[in-house]
């Protein structure tokens, strides 16, 4: 993992490698969560780390999410840099109070004296045929909370770097991992330096419309852009990467150019990230917009039984449908 060695990694392995680097780089980094030790996490993201770094640094926790985050706050106050794993998106809510009232506010409450360098990793989103509470996309809850930073990786290379940048951040970071992309592979060349954590990436340049997405939907949107290209449409795909702060500048530059924007996410549409993006884009690109910002998201209903999740989740067709509607304005 040093020098310019390149390797073909799944996102889960890339995260594992990134965490390993973080543990090596700073003895104050500790991991905590349910089943992250011997088992290596239910997605094997922490596989082998307890064996190599010991139980004091890779901590199997009692089954209590508030306890995991609350004790991480205490460890952070003692100078540690905890990286907590929440086993599935739907299980972050028992820890919600500690996250929004404590983690998010400590730096501010202490008038800047104390830092809260905590990373909260959350495998999130649907598409894996799971039972209830295992397919949620809770990013709005965190992105609306001042004091937190929120990011989402969409591919193994980003995953590798972003997790290290998140661990190095002195501010708390909610780190969303798109669980249905854990097994997607990519070539990682560690000699290529990463982008800053809080920047969006123009993943595919285009001129007709800006497709804004993050996490699991980036692949969907890239596929949509490919399909649209066959129909002669040039879509610019922006992987937001950072949901709080949003890299508004990159988004605005794109939409000023294309005049059309569609936001895509799995979370329910109402008050999803799309609403904030739509509001900001309209504020800042009012005279460039040729159509309202359209939103493609999960419907405003709880996640459905898995046999029909593909109907609930935005897919290539729903994205292209919105693209059609936007361009028809």
């Amino acid at each position: 993992m040093t020098g310019s060695s390149a390797s073909n990694l799944t996102m889960a392995r890339a995260l594992n490698a990134g965490l390993r680097r973080a543990l090596e780089a700073d003895p104050k980094v500790v991991l905590a969560g349910e089943d992250i030790g011997k088992l290596g996490g239910v997605f094997r993201v922490t596989e082998g780390l307890q064996k190599d770094f010991g139980e004091h640094r890779v901590i199997d926790s009692p089954l209590a999410e508030s306890g995991i985050i609350g004790t991480a706050v205490g460890m952070a106050l003692r100078g540690y840099r905890p990286v907590c794993e929440i086993q599935f998106d739907g299980f972050v809510f028992p820890a919600f109070d500690q996250i929004v009232s404590q983690v998010a506010k400590f730096h501010y409450r202490s008038a800047g004296r104390l830092a809260m360098p905590i990373v909260i990793r959350i495998p999130s989103g649907g598409g894996i045929g799971a039972v209830e509470h295992h397919s949620e996309s809770p990013e709005t809850y965190f992105a609306h909370t001042p004091g937190l930073k929120v990011v989402a990786c969409s591919n193994p290379v980003d995953a590798y770097w972003m997790i290290q940048q998140a661990v190095a951040s002195d501010d708390p970071v909610i780190f969303f991992e798109p669980k249905r992309r854990y097994h997607d592979k990519a070539e990682l060349d560690t000699s290529v330096p990463p982008m800053p954590l809080h920047s969006a990436r123009v993943t595919r340049p285009g001129s007709d419309l800006s497709l804004l997405c993050y996490g699991p939907m980036v692949k969907t949107c890239l596929d949509a852009a490919t399909a649209a290209a066959d129909e002669g449409r040039s879509l610019e795909v922006i992987d937001l990467r950072t949901l709080s702060p949003i890299d508004t500048a990159t988004v605005v530059t794109s939409v000023r150019k294309t005049g059309h924007a569609v936001v895509v996410h799995e979370a329910p549409i109402s008050l999803g990230l799309g609403s904030e993006l739509a509001a900001r884009i309209t504020e800042q690109c009012f005279y460039s917009l040729e159509a309202p910002v359209l939103r493609v998201g999960g419907f405003d209903i709880p996640y459905p039984p898995s046999r029909i999740e593909d109907e609930y989740l935005p897919d290539l067709d729903r994205v292209l449908d919105a693209v059609d509607r936007s361009l028809a304005y």
Partner: protein, 381 residues
Amino acid sequence: MSYGDPELVQLLSPEGVRVDHPDYAFTGDDEQIQGFYRDMVLTRRLDTEATALQRQGQLGLWASCLGQEAAQIGSGRALNGQDVVFPTYREHGVAWCLGVDPLQLLGLFRGVDLGGWDPLSTRFHLYTIVIGAQALHATGYAMGIERDGLVGTGDAKRDAAVIGYFGDGATSQGDVNEAFIFASSYNAPIVFFCQNNQWAISEPIERQSRIPLYRRADGFGFPGVRVDGNDVLAVHAVTSQALERARSGNGPTFIEAYTYRMGAHTTSDDPTKYRLADELEHWRLKDPIARVRAHLTRSGGIEDDFFASVETEADDLAATIRSGCLALVDPSMVEMFDQVYVDQTPHLSEQQRWYADYSASFESDSDETARSAVETPGRQG
């Protein structure tokens, strides 16, 4: 904690020998024990069959109750006609006792619904996946029973109690501890039934508690008792007494059923990563079904073909489950919009209409087929 522990209530030894206990007795007859045997065998078959169906790709997931049949049947059969159950996701044996159609359990794990049975008529509430949440629901429900004046009336046809199930891991959740506090504070008619199967996925019980779990109750001011969870007679006796205590107005009891998760946590899990085969072997000797069979065989007095007939019944059940599972119907996405609120909102009606039109456009218009069909074949099916 080894067997023979004075702290552990046992009425039937692993060898199938009935033993006495100063505080608890099983008062039923052999016919009832035969009934338990049948329940346990059928539960196990249901479980085995569901595990197989998951392997065949017919279920998304299955949480096996292998090894925990005595804990579930012993407690489930202690309930009376007014008592109500709040389960986790693993109480297939209790569901069986309450008459829940096994296919409805499968439906949830297949992903055709989020719980297809009627919690009101079965008195068996929905499976709860968020660890510990149901302990509070159970407590609130019990507070409701008390408010209804259905505790301590002395009328066995009216007095009711609640039983709330959870695992050893769940005892670490704030919600479970808050449930203890509310139950204690309002003296609610509830039995907290903890199946300590020694593991919470990969975490051993020692991570959750450094003393025997049943002692947790002491700290909250109500009795805790540890019962051999692989001994259906002891579980039945202990649960019956706790339920009676609750119904008659004496408040909560915590039961720790000391048992073992013989299978993986769920079909997604690989326990070889974190536990030794030895342990499994050790517990296999304490199998809850084998000991009842040994007892029934030894005590005589059962019909010749009893064991064979239960086997046949199990085969039939398995067949029903197999064919029934494949016949489970996928839900309709359009209809899901109707189930969010009792009073539908204009906003959701509009999304529903949009979706209905949108999806109809693929079916009606053969020209404009789904573009995704080209890109990602098979995902729409």
